[in-house]
């Protein structure tokens, strides 16, 4: 105790030490190991790995898995846009019309995500299956042909991703909309703004931080996902996550898998940087 009193400046570091040590040991250091692994070469005879600064692992990864990489970013972008379209009016409605039931309504948004991820994706498999009501209705109306399917198509995969990452979009949107001071909207109406104009000039700009946070929190996990492509798609819909997963867990081709992981990280960081610059938002971590 006396030691702590004498070295007061140490207190924050003592508080940080255990948690940060954990993050450094099990998050930062592993990334270093992954980087090291990505430059190794596998000996084809005894299957051992030797470190050789094998930068060609990266160029091989990009050329071999370019389709999956592009597909991941495409699917993630479409799913993020869809999640925004679905959640914005919903978050708006809860924030402005929810009254004192706001928190109960939020439970309905978050609740479904307490059904295990894999189980709710399997539920979509049932809903979109060939004998399911959705496919039959669409066939009846003529949108789908008599042999048309939803399961095992990119539509199903994107729909699954959209659904699974929706709360990452809806919650930040709700938080930013809920914080908007109602008096600003009253002021806009006093100044003869129509409701549409008040929305476009007051509400929408004030909700931009929520839109930015939501799109990032949705896009990043969506781009790395492989569950939806695996359960709702076929190898034609496989994303970069499927490649990483199978290289690591089935083929034991660790150097290639490590290189692809870094390519994925770089692609995501690059897109996020462009996005942040375009919006001029610098306080991403705030």
């Amino acid at each position: 105790m006396a030691f702590i009193h004498r070295h007061r400046w140490l207190t924050p570091y003592l508080l940080l030490l255990p948690g940060l040590a954990w993050l450094v040991l099990f998050f930062v250091v592993p990334l270093g190991f992954l980087g090291h692994q990505s430059l190794e070469v596998q000996n084809p005879i005894d299957l051992s790995y030797t470190f050789k600064w094998a930068w060609h692992n990266y160029s091989d990864a990009i050329t071999t898995f370019n389709p999956q990489l592009v597909r991941s970013l495409e699917y993630a972008a479409i799913a993020t846009a869809l999640a925004l379209v679905v959640s914005y009016p919903l978050a708006y409605w809860i924030a402005f019309r929810g009254g004192r039931w706001k928190n109960v309504l939020l439970i309905i948004i978050v609740g479904p995500f307490f059904v295990t991820y894999l189980i709710r994706t399997l539920a979509w498999e049932t809903i979109l299956s060939d004998q399911g009501i959705v496919v039959r209705t669409l066939q009846h109306v003529g949108i789908l042909g008599p042999d048309g399917r939803l399961l095992a198509t990119s539509v199903a995969v994107v729909a699954g991703i959209t659904y699974n990452f929706l709360p990452f979009m809806a919650l930040p949107l709700y938080v930013s909309l809920e914080q908007i001071d109602g008096r600003l909207l009253e002021a806009a109406e006093d100044l003869y703004a129509s409701r549409a104009v008040a929305f476009l000039r007051v509400t929408l700009p004030l909700s931009v931080p929520g839109v930015v946070a939501g799109t990032l929190l949705t896009f990043i996990p969506a781009a790395g996902d492989f569950i939806n492509a695996q359960l709702l798609g076929t190898p034609q819909q496989y994303m970069i996550g499927n490649v990483i997963n199978s290289r690591f867990n089935e083929l034991q081709d660790y150097p290639a898998a490590a290189a692809i992981s870094f390519v994925l990280m770089a692609a995501i960081l690059g897109l996020v940087a462009i996005y942040a610059r375009a919006l001029g938002t610098e306080k991403l971590t705030g």
Partner: protein
């Protein structure tokens, strides 16, 4: 009379249409919200419904009759019960550890100005913004390189790692909106720092700590991707579901999924109702 009635009807028709239109316009957003809620709850309804299904074959895809037997014999599927038990144990240990470590970090970040604060914030933010598959894969290379045997404890290590950031964010939010005068008052009344922390600070941030604990528990029990990399031969509940999905998913998995959902909803509803009552009492 018939002419009058006709004109009335003609007049009434656009009136009704107009009224329907204004009604639709006024309630369009509400209608949309209801549809969106339906969309969110549809898979849950399917999971719960098919937990009562009585499938004749191995596949639980089409409705073939109602039964309670999946619920009464939920542990009839070999391997399901031990997997669930493992998941609960991992979640309990990992959520407590992550909550302790994360709360300490949050206290340091909000209460102190120190060198390296910005770097700490970045380090907290990064795991949340990295794809899970990269987190899992990199931990696996660490364990393999150091010849650590994969199993229960490597899963716990991984879960603590990805939960810490969420705990920090949750507790930090509460600490920022915290009235420091309460602590100053306690100190003025002669309490030392430790007593002030235990008797004043801790009770005030307890709801956030509890929320962080529950969030970590939920994240841990649901995690598949990172666990899949670091589990070795150990099977958690999501890993069990994954294995079952390769062949045929027994309805008992729906039973467990529905039960976890029901418990989570009950806990959250209780929390919200207590808060509502408290704010009304004020």
């Amino acid at each position: 009379m018939s002419v009058a009635a006709e004109t009335l009807a003609v007049r009434a028709r656009p009136g009704a249409a107009l009224r329907a239109w204004t009604f639709a316009r006024r309630h369009l957003l509400t209608l949309y919200a209801l549809l969106a809620f339906g969309y969110l709850l549809l898979p849950v309804a399917v999971v719960v419904l098919f937990s009562f299904n009585h499938p004749r074959g191995r596949f639980n895809y089409t409705w073939e009759g109602f039964t309670w037997s999946n619920w009464t014999n939920w542990d009839a599927v070999p391997g399901l019960k031990p997997a669930l038990q493992t998941s609960l144990e991992v979640a309990a240990i990992a959520s407590i550890a992550a909550t302790v470590l994360g709360t300490l970090i949050a206290l340091a970040l909000v209460r102190y100005r120190f060198r390296g604060r910005a770097a700490t914030n970045v380090l907290i933010f990064l795991p949340m913004s990295s794809p899970e598959i990269v987190l899992g894969a990199s931990l696996l290379t660490l364990f393999l390189s150091l010849n650590v045997a994969l199993g229960f404890w490597t899963i716990v290590i991984a879960h603590v790692m990805f939960c810490i950031s969420y705990v920090v964010v949750t507790v930090k939010a509460r600490l920022i909106g915290f009235d420091r005068h309460l602590e100053e008052a306690a100190m003025d009344l002669g309490a030392n720092e430790w007593v002030t922390f235990v008797r004043v600070t801790l009770p005030l941030i307890a709801p956030a700590i509890l929320a962080a604990l529950l969030l970590s528990f939920a994240l841990s029990i649901d995690d598949f991707v990172i666990t899949n990399f670091n589990a070795g031969q150990t099977v958690t509940f999501p890993l069990f579901v994954w294995g079952a999905a390769r062949a045929a998913v027994p309805p008992q998995i729906n039973v467990v999924g529905s039960a976890i959902f029901a418990i989570a909803i009950a806990v959250m509803l209780a929390n919200v109702l207590v808060q509502m009552r408290r704010s009304r009492a004020r």
